[in-house]
Point group: C2
Chain length 284, copies 2
Amino acid sequence: MRVITSLQEMQDLCLWLKRAGKSIGFVPTMGYLHEGHLELMNIARRENDVLVTSVFVNPLQFGPNEDFEKYPRDAAGDETKARSVGVDYFFYPHVDEIYPMPLATTMTVNARNSVLCGASRPGHFDGVVTVLAKLFNLVLPDRVYMGTKDAQQVAVVEQFVTDYNFPLQIIPVPTVREHDGLAKSSRNVYLTVDERAQASQLYASLKAAENLIKNGESSADKVMNHINDCLADLLESWAKLDYIALYSYPDLQPIQVVTDRLIIAVAVKFSKARLIDNIIIEVI
Amino acid sequence: MRVITSLQEMQDLCLWLKRAGKSIGFVPTMGYLHEGHLELMNIARRENDVLVTSVFVNPLQFGPNEDFEKYPRDAAGDETKARSVGVDYFFYPHVDEIYPMPLATTMTVNARNSVLCGASRPGHFDGVVTVLAKLFNLVLPDRVYMGTKDAQQVAVVEQFVTDYNFPLQIIPVPTVREHDGLAKSSRNVYLTVDERAQASQLYASLKAAENLIKNGESSADKVMNHINDCLADLLESWAKLDYIALYSYPDLQPIQVVTDRLIIAVAVKFSKARLIDNIIIEVI
């Protein structure tokens, strides 16, 4: 595995790989890699000649009161983990080279961004598509692997790729979970032992909602109320509810009647960690 | 020469060309091709394995009161001319395929855009970079050829390419002129015979300014006053002045003292045509 920090070196290499007819799989990350990231890399490894991963904590996608400075970082650990799953090129650019000066042209996301986590993070997805435009142009991937734990991010980025005709495919990969169902996340390290024990209720409530729908419930309100009931104990003693939501997917439009493809999502705040989870369901 | 209208066909072909190690030269145009465009294509032809040109009148870069509907079009003539200079692929996409729905992510240019022609065309360069992002992703060029007649456009697009790390070079090509110095332009067809006879004074005034600087004048105001004097007859009887301007290039910052690299530009309005011209000067 080769570690690359220079933008020019990364792009020259990928141009050369393309000319040599190699397919490039790409896993962009903010580092502090866990099994969720490694699952993306394992799949990308199988489907492409060359595997590139990037670690870049993107300041543009953090709000002024968010955890950019505190976001967990572990460059050495990330390198070891990336090497273990067969990454060819570990792209670790410096923020001063990604953003040497204010961008003359800025990007603004106007759809799929104002619900779920986007509602409380104005400008977040502007930062996401901006850095991805740059990374796509530097790494020139054929396929980009993204986890559906951040389902809204996948929906926004898929639309961005379509809007601007990027010559690549976004490959959504299902959430990797702990044995008790808790979605893997870099932010899980902030949970106390007790909170960790309770946190599996998030996924349990989503599976309960899915079962309700499979048994014939078609009212979105009733499905969301059922999740609220499932989370009652957790919200009484351990966490504060941020949202329970049900939308069409990937359009993220509100729906009253459960039909077609939809996302059910929850977000709660523990003492030091805000956790999100979701499931995407096809209703026949 | 192959005429291509499908976006998917264009992109698949260019991906295949890249994989085969071919370099791609690209000349994006709005059609109604004249010798200025053909000069871009001649240069691109020499410097690349494959030559792609596009003809697309981009509605996004026209203001509500501008000449989008009236912009001159001649698809058959354009094809013949492109074939004559050895274009391999003539990309002629339909507006409904370039913009099938409103873009979810929009682009906004915030630098180099508020002077010269940009001052009176709010949103113009937003439309330019938007369509170029799409065309770059469809055609995957190594080199993109643009005329410095639209010097502000070259400055904005060069910054855009740098901002977003597009894997390509912008190649600026000097303005092609008629025998009397008039810059070639699709809009010259709107000039009356009398106006056409007078129009050469635009370039003559710029050359006079250049001579003044070469003879030691360093005051930007005096240089602009000299152009105004040179244009006195023209402006009295034939045309209305839009602007005489002098800026650093490519930053397009106002300067008092003539130094380094600068652009001198003029714009005048005849009865049915607005003409622009400029020269870029290196002052040692």
